[in-house]
Amino acid sequence: MSYEVPIAPGETVDDLKTETTANHGWQLWEVFVRPKRGLSYTHCGSVHAADSESAVQNARDAYARRGEAISLWVVPSSAIHASDDPESLFESFDDKPYRHPTFYEIPDEVGQL
């Protein structure tokens, strides 16, 4: 089901408080699923739970009702450390084209290389 609920004429929209406190003591967990053997775990969303055991249960109910996973990881969201500024961290990549095989010209006669 869905949607956008229109704002009625004359209706005011409340300000959002985006810095509120924790969720009734349950922490946030990031969920990763392995769809089948041979594939990596992929992030698919998050759940709330009091401990890791119930986080796995909740993740199963929320993200794997139709065989989407043969295995799950749950990780406390607070344990994830993300990279910051993409420009400073990854820019050196662009000046090193010689790391790619296509940088080198090899004659066709040489065959598969």
């Binding site: 089901m1 869905s2 004429p9 409340d14 003591g25 969303g45 709330h48 993200y63 009702r65």
Partner: protein, 313 residues
């Protein structure tokens, strides 16, 4: 030359790149998304009530199992969406609280009662059908977590629409009484289903900004027309009619034309005066309060386990 955060944001939108949680975004974009995603989540959650109303009265064990699975999916959809809303920096408690105190709403379609078993079929066909048209569009929305939630939801909605239509096919091949029940359900749900797409484009004040930010990709009226064109023949296949004396097919454009929509009813329901508004929220708040001991017990158990493992270590 340095480019500003806003220029970078605008360039990403222009290039059809997704905006991700850690990216800089204008305050208005963030606020619009929090409101839209949260209210979308509330709709999924409140949407369980009209359907759950028939779980104990489903006509066969198979229909009952299907309906339970569908209602469970709606809970799941609500959770995907709350999870997407949280990536914007709002806590779950805050959005739930905004629903409980009436500061945020949910789709008005759930403020109508489910009076017969045929309503369950019609909800799957007409209501989930309208949701699918809207949500397919939202798969292309510019905010990454919202878009990914929509992809997941759309995969599951197809089951919802088809199980609903299957209920209706059974009724349309049934007794005269069953056929009458089916027609009555269509007569009651068709108008509200058309209203699900929101006011006409000319009256829709927020559409323009949402389209510019690519939160929304197709306008209310265009979506509504797509829905009408796909749905009318499906109703005729059931040997049913639609409660609209002005309904006609335009050979030239290939579109179905509908008569005027009752916007007074629409706004009354949005403002809280639909048939079921008070009951839906009262039930939701009660379920939350009744569940308090479960949340507390889980927390106490987790604390005890943590203390125990600490002692062993």
């Amino acid at each position: 030359m340095t480019i500003t955060d806003n220029e970078r944001f605008e360039a990403m939108i222009e290039a059809d790149e997704k905006i991700e949680p850690r990216d800089w975004m204008p305050d208005g974009y963030r606020a619009t998304l929090i409101r839209q995603i949260a209210q979308h989540a509330h709709s999924e959650v409140i949407g369980m009530q009209p359907e759950a109303n028939w779980i104990t009265r489903a006509p066969t064990l198979m229909r009952k199992a299907i309906l339970i699975a569908k209602v469970q999916d709606e809970a799941g959809h609500g959770l995907y969406l709350y999870s997407a809303a949280e990536t914007l920096g709002i806590s779950r408690d805050e959005v739930v609280n905004m629903l409980h105190t009436g500061r945020q709403k949910y789709s008005s379609i759930f403020n109508y009662p489910t009076l017969s078993w045929a309503d369950i079929g019609v909800i799957g066909w007409l209501v989930d059908g309208a949701a699918i048209v809207n949500q397919i569009m939202l798969q292309g929305t510019s905010y990454g977590p919202y878009s990914r939630a929509m992809v997941r939801i759309c995969k599951e909605e197809s089951f919802h629409a088809r199980q609903g239509y299957a209920i209706l096919m059974a009724l349309s091949n049934g007794t005269d009484e069953q056929k009458a029940m089916l027609q009555d359900a269509i007569d009651r749900w068709w108008g509200p289903a058309l209203m699900m797409f929101g006011p006409h484009d000319s009256e829709s004040t927020h559409t323009e900004q949402s389209m510019a930010w690519k939160v929304k990709r197709i306008s209310n009226d265009e979506l509504r027309q797509m829905y009408i064109d796909q749905t009318i023949p499906q109703g005729h296949y059931l040997n049913c009619t639609f409660p609209d004396p002005d309904l006609s097919f335009d050979e030239e454009s290939g579109h179905w034309n509908v008569g005027p929509i009752d916007w007074d009813e629409f706004w009354a329901t949005v403002k809280g005066n639909g048939p079921m508004n008070r009951e839906r929220i009262a039930h939701k708040v009660q379920a939350w309060d009744d569940g308090a001991w479960v949340r507390e017990a889980a927390e106490a158990y987790a604390e005890k386990q943590a203390a125990r493992s600490h002692k062993i270590a």
